[in-house]
């Protein structure tokens, strides 16, 4: 059923009893042209674009739990395209463009809100690095604004300008950056895919990958074996486990990243603000909670649960950046399992196994990538070669040295 004000009103008069499911609860068929493993944003978007752009409809998305229960459902919802390197910026700019018309495209309000993303800088070296990056963004056709301390003070009066250990000197802002309602993105893509006949199968964990003569034939799942010509992995933090089922080792480690939300408040923070002297970033959700996060806990984990030292560390940064936060209360904090890659950039590529495609390495930046990731992955699966936007995201780039290392952290996933 189309979502519109008209239909909302019409349904009101029938006591909202006629709304149809946003997506069917499909039962697995015996065979699909394409199986996407992972019902997160990326997996569902991939299925959506496969159906919409490439006319493939015999598709299943297999999700071990409930759709959106992975990182798609636990991220801090920041959408931006403020990358430095040539390998990254065109992809993320394309993603941002897709975001800008996503609600109309999906007929689902994902509450994309271009509130502006501001990265603070605290030293001349940091400023220079931001100038380099801002210029790269502009040269790629994105938007970027360098803000001086006084301009920031007017715009973000609540920051600590006067007693900070690392004084705020300015910031790099991307006005088109912002936030989106994470769950709605998942549900919107699920609904869109479902309308194009994609089977969304929840509570269906893939436990094995079937191959014959080096080519994919299907998967084993907790709901039985399912045949497939092609399989796309979009399982974020679980990528290594799935790849292992196909006998592959990946340049990926799984790490826990925590996020936090406060009690609901009247409007306080209008932008997304990122602290440059520690790991901290914050925005306010439409519901009023301040949503924030920081750095990885630092060790490999599949627990979706972090530990106290990082909680303290994140909030130290929060207080250092914005000392009026002191009396607001943390309502809840949780963790998600990040697919941290060896250079901090993603991989969207074919694998050496015929019919097996890989989408991983999103680190803590994959939410904003959702539309373009699905779009490029669908292209790669359908056409068997990369689109120009994901061409740099090759699996063999560590072998050739074509690294895409924005932070220069080297092969230590926990520092990216």
């Amino acid at each position: 059923m189309k979502y519109s004000l008209f239909n909302l009103i019409r349904n009101t008069f029938s006591g909202h009893s006629r709304w149809t499911p946003a997506w069917r609860d499909a039962t697995p068929k015996t065979h699909y042209d394409v199986i996407i493993i992972g019902g997160g944003g990326h997996g569902l978007a991939t299925a959506y674009y496969l159906a919409r752009e490439h006319g493939i409809h015999n598709i299943a998305v297999l999700e071990k739990g409930y759709i959106g229960g992975g990182n798609a459902g636990r991220n801090t919802t920041i959408v931006r395209a403020n990358y430095l390197l040539e390998g990254n910026q065109p992809f993320y700019e394309w993603s941002l463009k897709l975001w800008e018309s996503l609600e109309q495209e999906l007929n689902y309000n994902v509450m994309m809100s271009q509130r502006g993303v501001i990265n603070l800088y605290h030293s001349d070296a940091q400023r220079d690095a931001y100038v380099r990056r801002g210029n790269a963004m502009l040269m790629h056709g994105s938007d970027a604004v360098l803000m001086k301390r006084d301009e920031l003070r007017d715009m973000l009066p609540y920051l600590d300008y006067d007693n900070a250990r690392f004084p705020i000197l300015g910031g790099l802002m991307q006005p088109r950056g912002g936030t989106a309602r994470h769950d709605a993105v998942v549900w919107g893509y699920a609904r869109g895919a479902d309308m194009r006949d994609v089977d969304i199968i929840q509570n269906c964990e893939v436990t094995g990958i079937r191959m014959e003569n080096g080519a994919i034939t299907g998967v084993d799942t907790t709901r039985g074996a399912i045949g497939a010509n092609k399989i796309g992995l979009a399982v974020a933090g679980n990528s290594s486990r799935l790849a292992a089922m196909a006998g592959m080792r990946l340049p990926i480690e799984s790490h826990v990243l925590q996020a936090f939300v406060t009690e609901g408040l009247k409007p306080l923070i209008d932008h997304v603000v990122t602290f440059g002297a520690g790991h901290f970033y914050i925005s306010q959700s439409d519901k009023g909670g301040l949503v924030f996060g920081g750095d990885l806990d630092g060790y490999n984990s599949y627990a979706q649960r972090g530990n106290l030292p990082m909680v303290e560390h994140v909030l130290e940064s929060g207080m250092a950046m914005m000392p009026s936060l002191g009396r607001l209360r943390v309502l809840r904090h949780w963790g998600g399992i990040m697919d941290m890659s060896m250079d901090g950039s993603p991989i969207i590529d074919k694998t050496p196994i015929d019919g097996l495609y890989l989408n991983t390495g999103w680190c803590y930046g994959g939410f904003k990538a959702t539309p373009a990731s699905g779009w490029c992955f669908a292209h790669t699966i359908a056409r068997d070669h990369a689109h120009r936007y994901n061409a740099p995201y090759r699996l063999d780039r560590f072998m050739t040295g074509n690294l895409i290392d924005e932070r220069g952290g080297g092969p230590r996933p926990n520092v990216h």
Partner: protein, 991 residues
């Protein structure tokens, strides 16, 4: 000030000798010490305390504890304003002021309550279906409106003026909750001699017993509890923390608790913190957190004047405050009857008990008869009546409808054991049909629940288990003791019995499941119909359980209704995930004292005070503070640093370089170790010589650079950059310990031991010679890269002839405590040459003039070749990073490589971060050739110069390019030159 009309004249745990004045919405009232804000409001007959989140329906005090969804207020004012504070948890203090929130213009008349009328159009998730057209309207109109309407209280807009602290506690046994179960368990463990911590969020011990007239060994609950408290506190190794909520359960039995040291005071005392964060490391944990009473879901169940039965009992007994005069009880379980006598004793006239069950045990019936209340069985309340307060209820008793007037409606839907902390350990609670609630599952950590938290609602039995668990926990930690006698519990109640009722069929009005987030019973059905069937989807689609109470009241009812809708059992529906904190916790306390200047420690060099006295401006270099420049009257940074540069290049300058990392390396295999660490060779470095070294990471990119000096056959002294000092040390430790432990090498950081100063410039030798009178500093005796160690005064010092500035220069290291004195001596000695202290800016100018790389060039993305050091990769030996440095893309000659650039027009300036394009090309990425890394004005060349990373590197020398900086709306033509701008032959070094 109004009289407290609903205060009973006797009873209660309040101090009637200490009356307190307080304000709610600017009206003043009176309460007593011992009151909470909620109890004091009730004593004053104030029930309307807030408005619902979405429909702005009037709301009153619903509970007496942490689960309160409605009575949320803005407490205190100005910088101390605390939004969303639960009235039920605030201890009254004199002058307390609280405001209601989320209403306009007033609590009783709230404009947005039209939402209540519009509510049919605003079911769960309506916003996903609309507000999409026209596209621009979302950000300009809809969203700002939604945001203003959403949220509850207003945050303070000034820095929090209070202090916070953090501390760590270690114990054998942590007991959470000092209700009867926790008290007994803690006592048992403490008597065994174990180190015990007992944490209780209330300011008194006794738990729910304080709300009852229960007697133990014929003592009142409070005196029995206080006796145990006294005994526990007498143990040297036991510690009772009151006003302390344990809110987080982390791995390996680390728990987090917040102690509210001053929230019951107008302001914290001098030197006192507002709150303290405890990190508790416990060998064993006993959870005795009790249970929460469950609401019932029927029409208008959110009207003020409706509250949990246990809350009404608490107000009546503990606070001597009458929550109403004429009460109806709606209960599906025996505990509702247990409260009757206490309510009646508290002056509440109970007219009827509405019970949906057909069989009611005789004990319960007797309890009702004792207070003269009618029992209506097989009965439910269809709806409550009233506008701003409940005035009556519509009852359906086995098909017979009846209206009963009342001003208090007490509900009890059964009890939910508080499994929150238990569930945080990564396990999920399990359904117990016996109590119709979730109880703890098997433990993942060394943790057990007792009492109400374990679903044990029989006090006498709970105490027996509590004692046993306390003894067991202590024994497991190696402490033995025997059981002790437990009190006789006056037995007035029946065994707990319940028949779950998730919702009343055929109710009228709205039936709220989550009162704070305004989730209605119908929303759950809608969610299920629309495919949001998983509990997690239900939660996210409807926001059930996402409010500040995190579903403490609403979740289980919601699950029950969902299970009904889907035709599943409640256990197969399961719970959502429990997350810390158990109760919302102030951000300030997590940060403790680490805020403002205390956010991160500051490192000071030995010469810091001298620099302060001489007017230096400082710059942060990691945690260090370094003198940046030493302005003289009115100079700005550029003028000062140019003067410092010229003084150095023309005569002599002195620079504090103590922040460089310094590592002492010794041992038989020291030469071999250094050889493996560096891309160039160190094994054959002569004793008494320094050499510039380069280190790669294992992936072949540059890690760091620095000089290393051989002090003796098996003794080297290494320096690193300031930024990478810690990383290099850890890198060495890793390779030595984890990869090559056979190497006989010993090393440690000596960064802190040495004050280091660079003395540079043509007159540096002359100045130095005046101080180091006994060393021959002539070029022959002490040439470039020479190093020596010697006695100076009563200490050892080291001298190196190395140069970052490109001048004749030395680095002198003396023990840190003598740094300032030596510095002063050099300044004195240099007076005749006009010696000038220079800071990091001048240092930067000189290094760029010389084309020396630093942080912007060694940024983790560059290879040795990129930064012009390709020749430092030895082909004769193995070293870390060598194999992977050879990857095709890393040796591609088209990579961006180090060059110098300068402005053709000396009046034009350059900016770091600009990109390079051909002069006639546009600033678009297709034309991008590289970027500018480090920029300075060169006082020697009298123009702006820069280092850059440029595709093709030095093959471009002589070309004209354009440095484009669209971000700063700037561009300028530049010439590509060698990165060695000044004295490329290094003649000045060797004089």
């Amino acid at each position: 000030m109004k009289e407290a009309a609903y205060r009973n004249s006797a009873g209660g745990l309040i101090d009637r000798d200490r009356p307190l004045k307080f304000y709610f919405d600017n009206v003043s009232y009176q309460g007593f010490a011992g009151d909470t804000l909620a109890s004091a409001l009730i004593a004053n007959g104030v029930h309307l305390t807030g408005r619902g989140f979405k429909y702005h329906r009037p709301r009153g005090i619903y509970t007496s504890g942490t689960e309160e969804p409605n009575a949320l207020v803005e407490l205190r004012e100005d910088a101390r304003r605390e939004p969303n504070t639960r009235a039920t948890l605030i201890e009254l203090y004199d002058g307390l002021s609280a405001m209601s929130q989320n209403r306009w213009p007033s609590l009783a008349f709230d404009i947005l309550s039209v939402n209540n009328l519009l509510s049919p159009f605003l079911p769960a998730g309506f916003y996903y279906k609309t507000f999409m057209w026209p596209k621009q309207f979302w950000e300009k109109m809809y969203e700002p409106f939604i945001r203003r309407a959403a949220g509850l209280g207003r945050a303070a807009n000034k820095p929090d003026p209070d202090r916070y602290e953090r501390a760590t506690l270690h114990c054998d046994v942590l007991v959470v909750g000092a209700g009867p179960a926790g008290l007994v368990a803690a006592l048992a463990a403490a008597r065994s001699g174990a180190r015990v911590v007992l944490a209780e969020q209330d300011h008194r011990v006794g738990g729910h017993l304080l709300s009852t007239s229960t007697t133990l060994d014929s003592k009142s609950a409070e005196s029995w509890s206080d006796d145990i408290r006294t005994e526990i506190e007498a143990f040297e190794d036991a510690r009772l923390l009151t006003r302390t909520t344990v809110f987080g359960y982390y791995d390996h039995n680390i728990l987090a608790a917040v102690e509210r040291l001053a929230d019951h005071l107008p302001v914290p005392g001098a030197h006192g913190a507002r709150q303290k964060l405890w990190r508790i490391h416990a060998s064993r944990v006993i959870l005795a957190c009790g249970a929460f009473e469950r609401p019932l879901v029927f029409g208008n169940n959110d009207l003020p004047g409706i509250m949990l039965t246990s809350a009404a009992r608490t107000y009546a007994m503990r606070y001597a405050a009458r929550p109403g005069s004429r009460a109806v009880i709606f209960t599906n379980n025996s505990s509702g009857y247990d409260a009757l006598a206490d309510l009646a004793a508290g002056g509440v006239n109970i007219v009827a008990v509405i019970d949906p069950r057909s069989d009611i045990d005789s004990q319960s019936i007797a309890q009702a008869e004792a207070v003269g209340a009618r029992i209506l069985n097989r009965a439910v309340i269809l709806g409550a009546r009233g506008h701003l307060h409940v005035r009556g209820v519509d009852v359906d008793a086995a098909g017979v409808r009846e209206r009963i007037d009342c001003d208090l409606l007490c509900v009890s839907g059964g009890w939910n054991p508080d499994v929150h902390l238990h569930s945080q350990t990564g396990t999920r609670p399990v359904w117990s049909p016996d109590i119709a609630g979730f109880i703890p599952a098997e433990s993942r950590q060394r943790e057990l629940s007792i009492g109400g938290a374990a679903g044990q609602f029989d006090l006498a039995n709970a105490l027996i288990t509590a004692r046993q668990r306390g003894l067991d926990a202590a024994r497991e930690c190696g402490f033995m003791s025997s059981a002790f006698d437990l009190p006789d519990v006056a037995k007035g109640s029946s065994a707990y019995s319940i028949e779950p009722l998730w919702r009343v069929a055929g109710y009228h009005g709205k039936a709220l499941v989550d009162m704070q987030n305004d989730v209605k019973e119908t929303d759950i059905g809608l969610s299920a119909r629309e495919g949001y069937k998983s509990v997690e989807h239900l939660k996210r689609y409807t926001t059930l359980g996402m409010a500040t109470d995190q579903g403490k009241l609403s979740n289980v009812n919601g699950l029950g209704i969902l299970a009904d809708e889907l035709g599943f059992s409640i256990e197969s529906v399961g719970t959502t995930t429990f997350r810390p904190p158990v109760l919302p916790v102030a951000i300030g306390v997590f940060a403790g004292s680490s805020r403002g200047q205390h956010f991160s420690p500051t490192r000071y060099t030995p010469m810091h005070d001298w620099a302060v006295r001489h007017g230096a401006k400082f710059v942060e270099a990691g945690q260090w503070l370094r003198p940046r420049y030493y302005p003289r009257d009115g100079e700005d940074m550029l003028a000062a640093s140019c003067r410092e540069t010229l003084a150095t290049r023309n005569s002599v300058g002195l620079c504090d370089v103590s922040t460089l990392g310094k590592i002492d390396v010794q041992g038989a295999d020291a030469p071999e170790f250094l050889n493996r660490l560096h891309s160039n060779g160190f094994a054959r470095l002569p004793v008494g010589k320094a050499r510039y070294g380069l280190m790669l990471r294992e992936d072949g990119l540059v890690l760091d650079d620095g000089t290393t000096t051989r002090l003796a056959e098996h003794h080297y002294f290494m320096t690193t950059t300031t930024a990478e000092a810690a990383a290099v040390m850890a890198h060495m430790e890793y390779y030595h310990q984890a990869i090559w432990p056979q190497l006989d090498v010993q090393y440690c950081s000596v960064t802190e031991q040495w004050a280091s100063m660079a003395i540079a410039g043509p007159n540096s030798r002359a100045v130095l010679q005046k101080v180091l009178t006994r060393i021959d500093l002539s070029n022959e005796a002490f040439p470039f890269l020479a190093a020596t160690e010697f006695n100076l005064g009563n200490f050892r010092a080291r001298l190196f002839r190395i140069s970052f500035s490109g001048e004749l220069a030395y680095e002198l290291n003396v023990p840190a405590g003598y740094g300032e004195s030596l510095w002063q001596a050099l300044m004195n000695a240099g007076k005749e040459f006009g010696i000038t202290a220079y800071g990091t800016e001048a240092l930067g100018i000189m290094r760029i003039e010389k084309g020396h790389i630093a942080g912007p060039e060694v940024n983790g993305q560059t290879t040795a070749g990129d930064i012009g050091l390709g020749s430092m990769l030895s082909s004769k030996k193995e070293f870390i990073g060598r194999p992977l440095a050879a990857r095709e893309a890393l040796v591609d000659s088209a990579r961006e490589q180090l060059v110098g650039i300068r402005c053709n027009d000396s009046s034009m300036r350059l900016y770091a971060g600009a990109h390079l394009v051909e002069p006639d090309k546009a600033a678009v990425i297709e034309n991008d050739l590289g970027h500018v890394t480090s920029v300075t004005y060169s006082p020697m060349l009298k123009t702006w110069i820069a280092l850059a990373l440029l595709k093709g590197g030095t093959t471009n020398i002589g070309k004209t390019l354009k440095a484009v900086n669209p971000l700063m709306k700037h561009e300028v033509n530049v010439e590509v030159v060698s990165s060695q701008f000044f004295d490329p032959e290094n003649t000045r070094l060797h004089v």
